[in-house]
């Protein structure tokens, strides 16, 4: 193939401009300022500084990769050019801010931002900015020059430092409440109490400072993680399991699953009351994600109005149990089957008319359906039944015997039980006849129909199952808040769920869990991040589709399918059967 000859200097200048543009955007949307209080390494640098310097690092690295092979000196120089230009663009922003009142338009172009960009040293600080930028550029380019194993280890160690620094508050809150818990330990567990207390002290006093990691511990951690990664990358890759499992592998697998289950059961106790609420949220989205995963991931039907079923479940629970409306006054458990039936019927009713639609149109129709449901719930017309803008209050709560499950921690176990059941169903469905029919429809509907798959029943089942899971999430949500409001049923819920299954990996059940923990828990844990939640989701979705469309924890078949042309299919394995490009 004819390859274009690339001029390394042109590339470097271009990369520098792109890095500068990205950094200016991050500065102007206010992310730099928002994160400037959060130290990664105490006294050294903050997350805000990372944000406006890291674009130069990344772009220098990618430029180095693009222009390779080049002499080492040239690569480093290209990195330098990229870094200098990237920071010069930002310096230009600061200078412009001195002349013009940018704040009349860009609310985040505040004096505080300029102070951060100049490292608090007024205009001479711009030289520091240029210096830092060029260091980032050179380092980014030089890392590429290292042997691959070393480069990967260094990058991984850097990422871990970033993550550990960011999560400082989380770790310290969790360990602090461990110490409190040890006070209630019986005498014979005293040694464990001492151990936990000293561990907590070690983490909070030695590793972390009041904000971020301590410099020394950051260096030690960097070396430890780097060494560990270096050792791990050197090991031969574990062979993929091909034949039936041996007895030993089976035991390992059972033990592993048991361990994960035990971890989930103990999670609220380990993390403490403060996190139970966040865990409930994650649970809610895992439930919905498992449902949407069937519709989008298994059957390939892009549903943007998924919130409708959630709303129908929640509202059905409200109408059936709330004494305020006084229609039925059922208890939670009595109402549950009826509410779920309502969502299944809604799933079929939506499914019927759109059987013939594909891809884009389907997405828009389901989006319209979701909006219609919300607008109806909001309208004065249905106010006597659905409460209009006021919503429905005093919704029944789940009980077991005489215990009312109303604390966040109790609800966590309710979510856990529901997730357990739903995940089991989803897992069994996936490899069943119907699951394979879904995947066949996803890959090529015409071929699937020609093979004798009844597309009506198959698609309706996907919609109904997805609706059922989402409805279940809705009923528990209603019980959790004791109330439902039309405003909590907006399009953003659908987008949250869609993002989490796509980022986790479409069609992959563990992917739903990964996606939910990353996307739902992260904004709750890092409060600065909450503001930029959807910005980050959007960027993640685009970046994911461009670079890794199979997701973080991909489903095997989809990974093979998306990378078939790259020849990643290992030898000795049959080529993927279902590999016609979709559409």
């Amino acid at each position: 193939m004819h390859t274009k000859s690339i001029s390394p200097w042109k590339e470097a200048v271009q990369a520098g401009l792109i890095a500068g543009a990205i950094a200016v955007l991050l500065n102007l949307v206010g992310m730099t300022t928002a994160f400037s209080g959060r130290y990664i390494v105490s006294g050294w640098f903050t997350m805000g500084q990372v944000l406006f310097l890291v674009p130069m690092f990344i772009l220098a690295y990618t430029t180095a990769r693009k222009i390779a092979p080049q002499p080492a000196m040239h690569t480093a120089l290209a990195g330098l050019v990229c870094g200098v230009i990237g920071s010069a663009v930002q310096a230009g922003l600061v200078l412009l801010g001195q002349v013009v009142n940018l704040r009349a338009m860009f609310i985040n172009a505040s004096p505080q931002l300029f102070e951060i960009l100049t490292f608090g040293r007024d205009l001479p600080g711009l030289l520091l900015l240029l210096l830092a930028g060029s260091i980032m550029g050179v380092v980014g380019a030089v890392i590429f020059l290292l042997p691959e194993r070393l480069a990967k280890s260094v990058l991984q160690a850097l990422l871990w430092i970033l993550l550990l620094g960011l999560l400082r508050d989380l770790v310290s809150t969790v360990t602090a409440q461990w110490v409190i818990k040890t006070k209630a330990f019986p005498d014979w567990l005293g040694w464990a109490g001492v151990l936990i207390t000293s561990l907590s002290t070690f983490i909070n006093k030695t590793i972390y400072s009041a904000s971020g990691l301590k410099p020394l511990s950051a260096i030690v951690l960097f070396l430890l993680v780097g060494a560990w990664a270096y050792w791990r990358y050197g090991r031969p890759k574990r062979a993929r399991i091909t034949g039936p499992l041996t007895r030993r592998q089976q035991t390992q697998r059972v033990l592993g699953l048991g361990g994960i289950a035990l971890l989930f059961i103990l999670l609220p106790s380990i993390l403490g009351i403060f996190f139970a609420e966040i865990l409930d949220n994650v649970g809610l989205y895992i439930l919905m994600g498992l449902g949407l995963n069937i519709v989008v991931g298994f059957a390939g039907l892009l549903d943007l109005g998924y919130v409708a079923f959630y709303a129908i479940g929640a509202y059905a629970m409200g109408v059936l149990t709330s004494p305020e409306l006084g229609f039925f006054n059922l208890t939670f458990w009595e109402a549950l089957p009826f509410a779920l039936l309502a969502t299944v019927i809604a799933g079929v009713i939506l499914g019927l008319p759109i059987l013939k639609m594909r891809g884009d149109y389907l997405a828009i129709v389901t989006l319209g359906f979701g909006e219609i449901v919300r607008l109806l719930a909001l309208s004065d017309w249905l106010r006597p039944w659905l409460g209009g803008t006021q919503g429905i209050q005093r919704i029944g709560q789940p009980t077991i015997g005489s215990i009312i499950l109303d604390s966040q921690q109790d609800l966590y176990y309710l979510f856990l039980a529901a997730i357990g059941i739903v995940a089991f169903i989803a897992w069994r469905l996936k490899d069943s006849r119907i699951g394979r029919a879904w995947m066949a429809i996803r890959e090529d509907e015409d071929v699937a129909m020609a093979m004798g798959i009844n597309h009506v029943a198959t698609k309706l089942l996907a919609f109904a199952t997805g609706a059922l899971f989402s409805g279940l999430a809705g009923t528990i949500f209603a019980a959790k808040l004791h109330s439902v409001y039309p405003h909590s049923m907006n399009f953003l819920v659908s987008i949250n769920v869609l993002s989490l299954i796509i980022i986790g990996g479409m069609g992959s059940i563990p992917g739903v869990f990964v996606g939910a923990f990353v996307l739902i828990a992260a904004p709750d844990l890092l409060r600065e991040f909450a503001e930029y939640r959807y910005l980050a989701y959007g960027a993640l979705l685009v970046a994911m589709m461009l670079t890794r469309p199979e997701g973080l924890w991909p489903e095997e078949r989809r990974r093979l399918e998306l990378h078939e042309e790259e020849g990643e299919v290992p030898l000795g394995e049959p080529p993927p059967v279902l590999n016609t490009p979709g559409g």
């Binding site: 639609m357 828009i364 607008l375 017309w381 685009v542 461009l546 979709g582």
Partner: protein, 353 residues
């Protein structure tokens, strides 16, 4: 004969038709009841018609973006609603600055043109960048992939603009010339409505002329027919696709200013609902078809402004205007079910629909 007919009708069709008939009956009964009650005078209906036409003009311009891109790439540019939002949300700062300095009232025409130019420039830039960064690398990916990218890009853009300009509402300063109204035979028409209708008609005509009568337009139509063949004829397909996005951005930017004349408040989520409506209009008229987008938008604008009162008031629905969006989306759902090719759309193979 009967047997084949009975075999072809499935349970699905029956259910779908039953729902369709039920909704049709509701519309007819509601209309008759409203008209018989005589609650609204003829002038009210005319008022609503003018309002509907103005709204339809704006939808038509936004719909152009969907329809042009769909025609050429067979994809729904979900982020087009943000292309629409970006223009007016940026130009509001210029409009307000001009109005504060008094320039807007001294030179309303030049002032408005400046604001329009800025809005168009921003929307066009966003549209072109969007295509270059997010869509071009995915042109041969499975269909779901670019659609998800578009959804992601839509959210990214919304929240970038929120970060840049803040989450609050910005009020648009409307020049004095356009405030007020004229009365023709007892019918009061706002100056802004006239400006919007005229502006939309002019823009639509210009776009139609570009697509139909210029060499670039010819190239665009060629690319939408067959990309490979067009490339063989020496057409730079990438450039034409960029130009298509630019054209869509231009009409969205203009639509944004007209929209701001009708509803003089802008914020970062202003694009979502009009975007969805314009998409409905494009589908109603037949997506990929320029006059169809115009026709569909006008019909949708009229239904949206007249519909709630006409269809629902007679049925005793309180505050029917709350349901205007629900009516628009119901129309969307039903067109897609019964006639996915729209009013003027050519018969497409099912795989394209």
């Amino acid at each position: 004969m009967l047997r084949t007919w009975r075999q072809r009708i499935t349970l699905t069709d029956i259910v779908v038709w039953a729902i369709g008939v039920a909704i049709g009956a509701v519309i007819i009964i509601g209309t008759i009841a409203t008209l018989r009650s005589g609650k609204y005078s003829a002038n009210t209906w005319l008022d609503l018609t003018v309002k509907g036409l103005a709204l339809g003009g704006v939808y038509a311009l936004i719909a152009m973006g969907y329809t042009l891109v769909y025609g050429i790439l067979r994809m729904i540019n979900f982020a087009h609603s943000e292309v629409f939002m970006s223009g007016p949300f940026t130009a509001v700062f210029l409009a307000n600055a001009l109005s504060r300095s008094g320039f807007m009232d001294r030179q309303p025409l030049i002032g408005m043109l400046l604001v329009l130019a800025l809005s168009i420039a921003v929307s066009m830039t966003i549209a072109v960048l969007l295509e270059r960064i997010a869509y071009r690398p995915l042109r041969h990916a499975p269909r779901l992939v670019p659609l998800i990218t578009a959804i992601g890009a839509s959210f990214f853009l919304q929240y970038v603009f929120r970060g840049l300009y803040g989450s609050g509402f910005q009020a648009y300063a409307i020049p004095k010339v356009l405030q007020g109204s004229i009365t023709i035979g007892g019918l009061r028409i706002f100056n802004t409505q006239i400006a919007v209708i005229l502006g939309a008609l002019g823009m639509m005509f210009a776009l139609y002329a570009i697509v139909q009568w210029t060499k670039t337009g010819k190239a665009m139509r060629a690319v939408s027919e067959d990309k490979e063949a067009a490339a063989l004829m020496g057409i730079d397909v990438d450039r034409i696709i960029s130009l298509t996005f630019a054209l869509g951005g231009i009409s969205a930017g203009a639509a944004g200013i007209l929209y701001a004349l009708l509803f003089p408040v802008v914020n970062f989520i202003m694009g979502f609902i009009p975007g969805l409506k314009a998409f409905t209009a494009a589908v109603l008229g037949g997506i990929g078809n320029v006059p169809g987008a115009f026709l569909g938008a006008m019909i949708l604008g009229l239904i949206e402004s007249i519909g709630p009162n006409l269809f629902l008031d007679g049925l005793g629905v309180p505050t029917p205007s709350q349901l205007k969006d629900a009516i628009a989306f119901t129309i969307l759902v039903f067109i897609l079910i019964f006639r996915p090719t729209g009013i003027l759309g050519e018969r497409m193979a099912q795989s394209k629909a």
